[in-house]
Point group: C2
Chain length 596, copies 2
């Protein structure tokens, strides 16, 4: 294996990155396709292996000659149509085959959709070095520790002033804001051109804990001439600006000040800045803070240990029996479960199943989050149950107590104006977000700017002497489904079967027949699950048995030599047709034939 | 059976309804519980049998002595947690037992959550008379026709000036606005007190087709002294006013004017007023209108036949082969599927499966609707697919092209101010909406007003000489689940089984054993669906077979006389434990034992 390039750490901005003027070739913008002129340099390939067909699973490879760098390595949560799948990780077959060329994985920030697949991917890629800021590195270590991979991993910390040389790539950074501290954008220089990758970003002039995005630095990078801007699309269909975390804190303080009883505040466990703000408000208003939920406790411990909190040491405690000794008016419980997740602390409180917290009249529950699409019904269910138990519930629908971590349209335009790239590539988001992004930016961008739409994961943007274009080639980029302890052993057939059974159940018909004559020994038996109560539907059961027996006799009479597989298929077809007609349902039919 | 009271139709407001002054007893408002003083009259019971734990399935009984009237008779769509259930209808056991007392069902408007269960309920209640406005009556007839019940039903039309006498009840109406024409609120006078039921309502000074809500009439009803106001809560957590349909029409006209290619507009098939507006805009801008989707075609035919449309007769056509002969710039296709429903016309277009409409570059799809909670992911999926096929998609997130049919907070306050009831009962909506409703109205209402929170379907509000209170009694009000052609044959056990199979599949283990010795004939067989590919997981299959065989031998050795049921339970327990440990999954385990 080739030696991995040295880690360079400096407090000054990279001086070796040449200053270019940002001259646009005279070309209309267009949606992928044709080359756009550019002088000199060999070809570079930008390959998003995830993050284009989802919000999540972000991973991008940049390849030049014999060198590959990877940006982020995230997972995504499975949608409800992925029945029983816990989460999804990216397909890195292409990188695995070229693992000798991988110079490192650079992380933009510590959210699971950017680091969460690392335990699956790292061993496949031959354990390349990892580069991350202090907090992100801490979160990656925690993740790897669960899988006993933390000791063997090579994790290097960078900060916003660092410079890296990874193979042919020179890498710099710029501070952005996001819903977790330490969010970074990445500036990549290669002989084939300059790239900016925004990571997940927004601009906040009064963020919760970290500093505002470094506009000066972003402008300076823009002045160096950027060939390709890869830019976050998550909120590209939303007008205006994100509200500042300062406003959110002020509103939360108003609630905390006015509330007389116990306060339970649910939020994201990675929203470390906001949680820190709430703790400081609690100090001011004489309330103790207790943390509930494993990820909340772990993340805040890490944040405290690494110096990312500003409240007095020891002020925040893990929830325990002592919580009931504090008067409700002096208590704040900070909890996970703002998305209505089944086993989360807030859901358990709502169901009356939480060991330490029984919801009672006088409690106020504040949900300082907004629903991630797909979670709406689960959250509503939790809220209904909290009300039913006597709590008052305040959500972001009632007051501005949450703000997103992703740039809205005006912030995206601001990023565009600071960078002014030659080629603009919306990343991070579903197709409708990225197409909305294109519609929006087209209205204000330099008409000569090239807009490249990479529609699917595995699409390739080639950046070379002629400019940039979408390649006709495609890299395999399937969803790898993780269910339970398995890894990639669940295929679409299995999901399809689950879907059938989830709506109409399963119906087993057991035939006993004589092996030689193929005559049925006795009436077939029926077992069903999730279909109808066969007990309560004796009539249907009887009819089904008759149809099944008749089908068996007819099929075997027509073809005495029919094989077991064909016989079963034919039986399923007959019985299925009867059930569909009789009940309008289509259960999974499993005929079982036992010869004696 | 007692003679049903005569139908009275008049064009003047009811004069026999005595004028009362609206005197509030000196009492603080409170959340259910204590009686609130009132002079004279026997007891009346208000029983919502649906609509309190959901948005949907609205049905309410009002009982006084030997007389019962029913307001609405709706269904609700099943949430994703109700696996495979098509829809839910109310439990009317209580009414069935008292069907001789039922004087009629009065409908507020023609949405499915107010009329959609009629085909299931009507036969159970002995076919009582139905009262509805012209359009609502037409929609009810269409619904009943599908079940061949339209001929036998007794449907009487009323209008906003009608008066009814149904047993002890005198009934009047008031015009409101909603997202379907002909929405009515109901004024019920009984010897025990006066009730106002708002139905689903909003106030629109420039509605799509019907007239603005009749404020004068509502004020006049309020002046008569209202004991109980039953009021829609669906949007009670949303601030401000609903946007007027006029604004929506203006924005849609702007889109239609500016768009050069073909336009496809998706909306609710019951939004007859808006569809009428779009058709009129189409006339103005020289575009032909084609309807796609069965319910859209049916509803617009009915609306035309009954005179609820204002565009030229014959202007709107059902989609057919001729659609392709019209230039795209002169075409508007109006379609169902704005909620991403699986088999809807818009979904089929997005998937490339629609017989008449192939999405192509230059098409613009306008979704003039907003997502009903739970449908977000399905809609996003449709939108992504439309973009992927080359269409531009405009949603209510991009422009104000949809408005709700349910009063926002300021409209609810307006209704309160016009009625000023003694007792205020939020209905129509999930608990969080109705609790939010209470929080909101408490801030502005007369502090002496009594607020009664009926938490669950089947809760009873008693209105009598002492005032009104929540009864300790409860009427059974279960969800009746409709799946396929069955009726109420799906129970929670069946749903539970579907849930298990939907996430982890099913695993069958077939044992053949000698009846006498209980010795196994040969190694057990395994069949699985939705679990893992047993083919690809030979190792797991082998291990499972061994565990199963060992378990069988051990169980039968320990207890030679074990019954078949206990044996199966024990086997399932053993195998389940092994699978959980080995794979972290919990499939449905079905052991099948065949003795020979």
């Amino acid at each position: 294996m080739k030696d991995v390039s040295a880690w360079i750490k400096t407090k000054t901005d990279p001086q070796h990155l040449k200053h270019k003027t940002n001259t646009h070739p005279n070309k209309q913008n267009e949606m992928g396709g044709k080359f756009h002129k550019k002088r000199g340099g060999a070809q570079m390939r930008i390959i998003p292996l995830g993050g284009l067909e989802e919000v999540g699973k972000n991973i991008m490879a940049i390849e030049y000659g014999q060198d590959i760098i990877i940006i982020d390595c995230g997972m995504s949560f499975a949608g409800p149509e992925m029945l029983g799948v816990d989460y999804i990780v990216p397909d890195v077959t292409y990188l695995k085959e070229r693992r000798r060329n991988i110079r490192g994985i650079v992380f933009t920030h510590g959210h699971l959709d950017h680091i969460g697949a690392i335990q699956y991917i790292l061993p496949q890629l031959g354990n390349p070095p990892l580069y991350a800021t202090k907090l992100t590195a801490g979160l990656i270590k925690n993740r790897l520790r669960e899988f006993a991979l933390d000791k063997s991993a090579h994790i290097h910390e960078y900060d916003e002033f660092s410079k890296l040389k990874l193979g042919a790539f020179e890498i710099g950074f710029f501070r952005v804001n996001h819903s977790i501290p330490d969010g970074m954008g990445i500036f990549v220089k290669s002989p084939a051109g300059n790239i900016v990758h925004t990571g997940d970003f927004k601009f906040d002039h009064s963020p919760a804990i970290d500093k505002p995005a470094n506009m000066q630095r972003i402008a300076e990078i823009g002045r160096q001439g950027i060939d390709v801007l890869l830019i976050d699309s998550t909120n590209a269909t939303k007008p205006g600006f994100c509200r500042s975390e300062l406003d959110i804190a002020n509103n939360l303080e108003e609630i905390i000040e006015k509330t007389k009883g116990r306060l339970i505040i649910a939020s994201f466990s990675s929203l470390i800045g906001r949680i820190n703000q709430i703790c400081n408000i609690a100090v001011k208003h004489n309330r103790k803070v207790f943390l509930s939920g494993r990820s909340m406790i772990e993340n805040m411990k890490l944040a405290e240990d690494l110096g990312y909190t500003t409240y007095p040491k020891g002020f925040v405690k893990k929830i325990g029996p002592h919580v009931s000794s504090i008067p409700p008016s002096q208590t704040i419980i900070l909890t996970t479960g703002a998305q209505g997740e089944t086993l989360s602390a807030l859901t358990r409180m709502a169901m009356g199943d939480h060991a330490r917290v029984k919801i009672k009249e006088g409690d106020t529950v504040v949900i300082s989050a907004s629903p991630i699409p797909g979670n709406e019904l689960a959250i509503v269910n939790v809220i209904n149950n909290l009300w039913a138990q006597g709590a008052k519930v305040i959500t972001s629908g009632d007051m501005d107590i949450h703000t997103s971590g992703h740039a809205h349209q005006e912030e995206i335009k601001l990023m565009y104006s600071l960078i002014k790239p030659k080629c603009y590539v919306p990343i991070h988001g579903e197709l409708f977000m990225r197409m909305g992004h294109v519609e929006m930016i087209k209205k204000i961008a330099d008409p000569r700017m090239h807009i490249a739409m990479l529609q699917n994961n595995g699409d390739i943007l080639e950046v070379g002497r002629q400019g940039c274009r979408k390649s006709k080639q495609k890299i395999p980029a399937n969803d790898i489904l993780i269910d339970g302890l398995g890894f990639g052993d669940i295929g679409s057939r299995v999901i399809q079967d689950r879907k059938i059974m989830s709506t109409d159940g399963v119906l087993l018909i057991l035939f006993q027949a004589y092996a030689e004559t193929k005559r049925i020994v006795s009436e077939p038996d029926i077992i069903s699950r999730g279909f109808v109560y066969v007990k309560e539907s004796q009539e249907i059961a009887q009819e089904t048995k008759k149809v099944a027996q008749k089908a068996f006799e007819q099929i075997t009479q027509d073809n005495r030599k029919i094989g077991l597989k064909d016989l079963k298929n034919e039986l399923a077809r007959h019985i299925s047709r009867f059930i569909r007609k009789r009940l309008g349902r289509e259960p999974m039919i499993i005929p079982i034939v036992m010869y004696i």
